[in-house]
Point group: C2
Chain length 489, copies 2
């Protein structure tokens, strides 16, 4: 990679040791196995958001459990929840002072719609040549099955190249099955198995690097709360000629509600929404500003022709360090072919709020209630219209790794060796159950992820760069040795 | 009926003659035939808005043509169009000075969705007892098959009770098959058959009375233009975590566009939209204000708990004499079960504008264009978002019958005899092809309609009051005699 356009991010970061030829050769020799086995797993449509796919999520858990047993884990369990099952595996080091590491990932995936926009069948993974090597296209390729699977190869490399018969750390894996549907039962699962999950550090493999030419480690993620608003007006659809102009139209009112979600500066209008946001320090803003940012390229990844957002913040600040409100879906009335001139009885919107450090998911519900009361008082919601917020899930909290944590240094070194480059620091705009992991297990959380910004996660044509999956395996192989040697308890 | 709460509407309206016992007895004796035959017709789902129902619309035309042949029309034709077929029938009077009357109706119907809200099967018509008699429930019962069919019974009554072997007027029927999808080819059809359709007056049977206790004749209808807006942002759906807050969200922008459709007073914001509106005169406002208006009851018919609309206008003025903009449907992003935290690539809305006397459908398209330019200039539509208006149809013009027209007096008398009550004047908020009829055929248009405000046209559980359909038949029987005796050419 080239770092011409990026100043060294921290003068205190020592140069990383060179890569280990044995580890690299082992990983390269397992490229075919990675593609074949991961493809087998990707063929299972383990969609957690759609209840009709529950059996597939179970099949996915079974597949992973079998694979981990074959990898040598002496203990593999499927942990049922009130929802969908997680997979747990454990392999003690045997060394008395080895630290205990818990790897987190998930085996459920997003739905594939709109299916018609896929260039390949979403559940028939396909290897395609790219200008950089090869990519594996399919739902879950990078989010998150690919990033769980690289640990299988990484652990085998670690064992084979160190000559060990057990990992250098006490290794535990918790691979949940409800991440893409809001980790509804994950906190409960952590509570139930708190003893088994006890660890010194959590390694989360569900994130990405800044870019192909800017390898980075994620140090924070946004939280999220989803809410649907059901807007109800007339008790049935009405003829828009006979009644149009004289009764409130729920779809119009819904549009006005959504239009009031942000003010003219792009700030979210929920009362008190920003009260507990931990503002970026000058140093943090400086660090983010030092990441190479090419707006033209960022827009290519964003498939957009222009940036847009909260006034006074850069794109990185907007997606990583600022809370947001977005419309994920909107519907109401007649949406079929031709026309149907009705005033619809109902209209609906699915909203999601991304949260940043300092904010809590539990604050969103009362804020939405207060906001709807405000909209009622100001007349945006008129008499004759009822608005009901619906929460399916509790939401997930935001998370930020302390920048000076020793486990973060181990991850940084391992990534630097695998990618042969200095490692920068980023955050992730997405959401994960990391807050629950940190809070319930009382352990620090670090991120080992190799996704790329153009991997199209949650969208049609999701893919994983095969070179990046292999580098992830290599970094994992280094990480167990590094953590054991520098960070025993 | 009681007129206690309604002052006589016009002191110049002479008392109507009493009803004709022979006509009434004939019509009453054909009640069972009306229910059975109309039900047979209603079982044909002649939905014109959905191309997959084209065969059903043809079946409906065939059914009607057969029925009119059996009624005695010497000439019945099915007139194909570039879209869906119309039915034409003609029965000359034989009297040299008989006026020529063209009856207009339509045999296509609205879609039945949302089907789950029907209490009966929409295509299996059912007679239900009500506190007033009986109603026939099914799609098209009143809009408009019921109102076409009552002419079959009315004409039979006219012939049987006058002893005539042909009608007292030269009777023509044009029953189109595309009214519910915007009468796309109706103007062309009228042009093509202008000679055959030549007439002295058009009688439109596709409207309603003011209420069960306030029988009225409609003197005007609103026009309509429909437009869909396609709002496009990112070229694919995006992860709302990775990109949320930094790119424009098409669903959010769509909401802001719709929110700007009206100002704070409920006025439509399209530039120049009101420029050519013929304002209500003081006398017209007085006449409308004299109609009995019971807001509680109106709200029951509107299935709403509150009125809402343009400031400074009454409910009648809002629905009959003021142009409107309504959302008929809105959609974009993920609308399935569970959640999918995306920024959608596209969002869409179906809008319809109702027009009043003075306005022309052709003015709406440039006004929408200017409006979108205004929204772009003010920043409501940001860079990165494209908005494309889509027009499937040319729209229909508004219509207003001159209040002093002699044919309107004949209709008023015939309705007064059939219902045994003074007849008031209303307008209709809906839209129809009357403007094209009047403009192309250069003939005055009057309305003979017996729909009720609670007939749920275009909505689930559409019904027709059987007593009102029979009264419509009776009024039609009188009308041919009245027109022939008072309004020969």
């Amino acid at each position: 990679m080239s770092t011409d356009d990026a100043a060294p991010q921290s003068s205190t970061q020592p140069p990383a040791p060179a890569f280990d030829p044995a580890v690299r050769a082992f990983v390269a020799g397992h490229r075919r196995q990675l593609v074949d086995e991961l493809s087998e797993w990707l063929r299972i449509p383990s969609i957690s958001a759609d209840p009709s796919y529950a059996d597939e999520v179970s099949r996915s858990a079974d597949w992973l459990a079998q694979r981990l047993l074959r990898a040598g884990f002496p203990s593999v369990e499927i942990w049922p929840t009130a929802g969908l099952p997680a997979v747990y595996a454990e392999w003690p080091s045997g060394d008395a002072d080895a630290p205990t590491v818990l790897v987190y990932g998930h085996h459920d995936v997003q739905p594939a719609d709109p299916v018609e926009l896929w260039e390949t069948a979403p559940w028939e993974p396909l290897v395609r040549a790219t200008e950089f090597g090869e990519e594996l296209v399919g739902r879950g390729a990078i989010d998150d099955k690919g990033q769980v699977y690289f640990h299988v190869v990484g652990l085998a490399a670690h064992l084979a190249t160190t000559g060990r018969t057990s990992p250098a750390v006490n290794l535990k894996l918790i691979i949940e099955g409800e991440e893409e549907s809001g980790s509804l039962h994950f906190a409960e699962l952590l509570e139930t198995h708190r003893e088994a999950l006890r660890c010194d550090v959590v390694v989360v493999s569900d994130t990405g690097v800044y870019g192909r030419d800017a390898i980075s480690v994620c140090v924070g993620m946004r939280g999220m709360v989803e809410v649907a608003l059901d807007v109800r007006g007339p008790s049935g659809d009405l003829h828009s000629g006979s009644f149009g102009g004289a009764v409130p139209n729920p779809a119009t009112v819904l549009a006005r509600i959504v239009a009031r979600l942000h003010d003219e500066n792009g700030h979210v209008t929920l009362p008190g929404f920003y009260d507990d946001v931990i503002a970026l320090t000058d140093r943090e803003r400086d660090l983010l500003a030092r990441l190479p940012y090419d707006e033209v390229r960022w827009l290519v990844d964003a498939q957009s022709s222009a940036t847009y957002g909260e006034k006074g913040f850069s794109t990185f600040e907007r997606i990583w360090a600022r809370p947001t409100a977005e419309v994920n879906g909107i519907w109401g009335g007649y949406t079929g072919p031709g026309g149907k001139t009705i005033i619809p009885s109902e209209a609906h919107v699915k909203l999601s709020f991304r949260l940043v450090a300092g904010q809590s998911p539990s604050q969103v519900r009362p804020a939405v209630t207060a906001w709807l009361e405000m909209l009622r008082a100001e007349g945006t919601i008129p008499d004759g219209i009822e608005v009901v917020p619906v929460y399916d899930k509790a939401g997930v909290g935001p998370f930020l790794t302390p920048l000076d944590h020793p486990a973060l240094e181990s991850v940084t070194r391992s990534m630097a060796r695998a990618f042969g480059t200095e490692v920068l620091y980023t955050r992730e705009g997405g959401s994960g159950p990391q807050a629950a992991l940190a809070a319930i297990l009382e352990a620090p959380v670090v991120f080992l992820g190799v996704g790329l910004p153009d991997d199209r996660i949650h969208a049609p044509n999701e893919k994983a760069d095969i070179e990046f999956l292999l580098a992830g395996a290599e970094a994992a192989a280094y990480l167990w040795t590094d953590l054991a040697s520098t960070w025993g308890r």
